[in-house]
Symmetry: C2
Amino acid sequence: MPTSPSLSATARSTLTRKQQRAATDRTELHAVLDAGLICHLALVSGGSPLCVPTGYGRDGDTLYLHGSTGSGNVRTAARGVDICVTVTIVDGIVYARSLNNHSMNYRSAVVHGSSRAVTDDDEREHALRVISEHLAPGSWDYARTPDAKELAGVAVLALDLTEASVKLRDGDPSEQPVDVDRDDVWAGVVDVRTVYGAPRAAAYVPDDVPVPPHIAERPAPR
Amino acid sequence: MPTSPSLSATARSTLTRKQQRAATDRTELHAVLDAGLICHLALVSGGSPLCVPTGYGRDGDTLYLHGSTGSGNVRTAARGVDICVTVTIVDGIVYARSLNNHSMNYRSAVVHGSSRAVTDDDEREHALRVISEHLAPGSWDYARTPDAKELAGVAVLALDLTEASVKLRDGDPSEQPVDVDRDDVWAGVVDVRTVYGAPRAAAYVPDDVPVPPHIAERPAPR
């Protein structure tokens, strides 16, 4: 754990606008990262930006990512290059009385840093468990753990959470003075939520195999 | 409309793995882009990758993005630099009998290209309408349209959809041969869906202002 709960304030992690939406508390960063299901990983490949969705998990102030060793992007990221990882949760559509003040409610975290290839066997297993527990809590102790061949096919990356920014928007629309008294026009918020359906067994699973509790009782996303 | 419905196959838009998950139909690209609510925009800023969530809209084979002229990232993107726009929709958590085959069901589109600053007044208004209709269909004809000052504060970008890739996963888990007969282990899918809540009026809206039909009857996300 860092001694200071504040987020860093380097040039690239300092928001240049809508600063009232910036959170500077490390707890907020952790909360956004823990609430997301996937992240978007951006890196520079052949001089061009590339942005791909991927799974992740957080342990303290380390973010772990994994990918196939067969992926060129993962191999690039594993070389210790600058990456950017963004997690965004959309919470609502904000209908203002003016189009210019239409917006979204959201929670978003942007993390900058140099990726580190995780090569130590113990840390690799730990990282894979962290990533697995993020996507599918409880599965690590239920499903078959990776064998040597499967492990060899997975590249694991670590990213330090030191340089990060969090942006949040919540609540009612903002309005311009000219619109505040337009009492013939509706304004408000339509919440956007992510929900899980009931578990659906794969076709090859016999009817008498129970859905395990870690899946049946998985809490709804926050 | 392009004469060919196929997506391009440049080096950076050709998937190097999981090619069975690649869609090559332009209709699929449009469907993913139309189903998403936000995109992640990646660009290179000061030599480092940056990835930020943003709104967008599609008109034919042009993607429009907008941002504040006060945003350094938007100003960078408006200079005609290489950008990457990614739209990801998570459809399910895939619980396999092995951890290595745990996965997600998803639809994802990745678009590469040079951004173009939209400066013509007519195209700017058209683009803003397209972006608005994507986020909040029907609002353009209901809410107050932008005045000159508001328009001056908005940067509009266009991105051609020529160079794009689509990746889809659907259905049951994949399993290794060693796991197929493990009939004591459950496997399957938990669907992930996005839902809209009932419209909530802002505190300053009188009770007798009706929720307009384009908000009250907005169809659920696909």
